[in-house]
């Protein structure tokens, strides 16, 4: 079975049809997906800005990370669940959308970006987090994160406009 026919099957399951045709659930799920940006991407943006020393530069970066993550992780949980339900309800169109594919690709790359940070720079945070010079690699990771999240948001908006 091809992916497209799987998507066709998925969006025609009773649950998916129910969400798509609901005057209440669809706007609620879509609204939650957008407003949870504040808790997910909004908080990660603040951590990226701290890595670039553009916000709270006198506070250790690891402290900001410790304070941000307990809220950002549930935020991304909401994004994943609501985003999954939105996909579920319009799987065929979403899968066919170029914007959706770019969005998914960038989400994977953002995951890789985060893993690189965790493996390469997180263990040595104590050495540089309070100094005025942040390693070049950390700056690159923060800028990549900010830029990719912006494109992810734009792709989400553009794909919804076409659906």
């Amino acid at each position: 079975m091809s992916v497209l026919s799987w998507c066709h099957w998925l969006q025609n399951t009773p649950w998916a049809t129910g969400i798509r045709q609901s005057d209440l659930w669809f706007p609620f799920i879509e609204g939650s997906h957008i407003l949870a940006l504040s808790l997910s991407v909004g908080l990660i943006v603040m951590f990226d800005l701290r890595l670039l020393r553009l916000v709270l530069p006198t506070e250790p970066a690891s402290k900001i990370m410790r304070l941000v993550m307990p809220w950002a992780i549930p935020g991304f949980g909401i994004m994943f669940v609501t985003g999954g339900l939105l996909f579920f309800s319009q799987a065929e169109k979403a899968y066919s959308s170029g914007f959706f594919r770019v969005k998914m690709l960038l989400l994977v790359l953002l995951g890789v970006n985060a893993v690189v940070y965790q493996m390469k720079y997180y263990p040595s945070m104590a050495e540089w987090e309070s100094s005025e010079t942040v390693p070049r690699g950390v700056q690159v990771i923060a800028v990549v994160s900010l830029a990719f999240w912006m494109v992810v948001i734009a792709c989400g908006r553009l794909m919804a406009y076409e659906l």
Partner: protein, 159 residues
């Protein structure tokens, strides 16, 4: 000059035709609207979690608000500027939309609350500890800003 007149003028303007006729202009501007919202609501969430005393407690409220405030303002200005560009090509449609009207009223109340009351509270020494007043102020701020957000989302669903 009445508001009606202003809408008609902007509807007739040729510059705005570019926004109206391009396939991607509006969703691209809306993306910038979302960048602004992400920055603004992210900042609002951080300040309010701190004011509620349930997050960011290891940071002093005064320092946190001083550092976060400019980013909140930046997000707000980006959202307003991009929102205005979405509004001008089709002002009559938005003006007639109840969700849009609710959004504008809620936005004015939220901005007034944030600048007149909230700013004073977070900059006073009494914002550090948990109190009924701080919890009430944080809840008002969260309800107002998320009402603006939900009303904004509802514009599309009310036609």
């Amino acid at each position: 000059m009445s508001l009606q007149h202003l809408w008609q003028m902007s509807y007739d303007s040729h510059t705005i035709d570019i926004l109206r006729n391009s396939k991607y202009a509006i969703p691209v501007i809306q993306s910038f609207h979302l960048f602004g919202i992400t920055l603004l609501l992210g900042s609002i969430v951080i300040l309010n979690l701190r004011l509620l005393g349930i997050g960011f407690r290891q940071l002093p409220m005064a320092a946190l608000s001083r550092q976060i405030w400019p980013w909140a303002i930046g997000g707000l200005l980006l959202a307003i500027a991009s929102g205005f560009l979405v509004f001008v090509p089709d002002p009559a449609r938005y003006a007639a939309n109840y969700a849009f009207r609710t959004k504008m009223v809620a936005l004015c109340v939220a901005v007034a609350f944030q600048f007149l009351i909230y700013r004073k509270v977070v900059r006073s020494g009494t914002a550090e500890s948990r109190s009924i007043r701080n919890i009430a102020v944080a809840c008002c701020s969260l309800v107002l800003w998320f009402l603006v957000g939900w009303a904004g989302r509802a514009i599309a669903f009310l036609g």
